[in-house]
Symmetry: C2
Subunit: 137 residues, 2 copies
């Protein structure tokens, strides 16, 4: 029996279909997902890239993971410690980190942090909510 399409799924389908119109949105109008007690996130999705606004409370740990999507991380408040490519680095407000596709990385928020992440192409696991490594119930 075919499953019913939920409103969330319909929204996802609308978002990932080819968009020919511009999207103008205040972040405050984009519903945040509360992924864990220390992690909230919302994002906009284009045809070729997505931009996420990620809010991490001090002590939030993003377990090691990798993805085929190129990532560009822009920190505007706070700081994230990264374990990446055999090195440990701290990316602070006013700094940028470009992570090539498929490079494993782990992160920890050293302070309450506002982070914008570009992914190219858009992260299907974020759109489809199958990113279980980030979700703590």
């Amino acid at each position: 029996m075919p499953r019913k399409t939920t409103v969330a799924q319909k929204n996802t389908i609308a978002r990932i279909s080819k968009k020919k119109h511009f999207q103008h949105l205040p972040w405050s109008s984009i519903e945040k997902e509360h992924l864990s007690p220390l992690l909230d996130r919302h994002f906009v999705v284009g045809n070729q890239a997505m931009l996420a606004r990620v809010l991490l409370k001090k002590g939030c740990v993003v377990p090691e993971h990798s993805h085929p999507n190129e990532q560009i991380t822009l920190i505007v408040e706070g700081a994230l410690k990264f374990w990446i490519d055999g090195k440990v680095i701290v990316v602070k407000a006013g700094e940028v980190l470009v992570i090539p596709p498929d490079m494993p990385h782990k992160a920890e928020a050293l302070d309450d942090t506002v982070d914008f992440d570009v992914f190219c192409p858009p992260r299907a696991d974020w759109i489809n909510k199958t990113d279980r490594y980030l979700r703590i119930k």
Copy 2:
């Protein structure tokens, strides 16, 4: 006779070759281009996307143009007025604008503005400095 490769060209070639290493940079370490009396810009380039930090003084006008690259514009300070798709909109700090490929747009800074622009794929005309519509001597 083959032209000499300048240092700038070598840097460009290095930047647009396939990168397998992460890049971690403070924006303050990335040289800004002074494109006009009201417009400065610097950027990082990945394999699939680029992220530019664009500083526009109040009154700066970016003439109407279009490009095949998808654009995601994130305003963190100030405001930009856009003429796009037959509409006039104001994108303020805390808002985001997704511009599909090949959609003509013009912008004017209503205040001193800090704008981050994602382009996917990276803008060859910005990398190669052939974006004459932005440059006023």
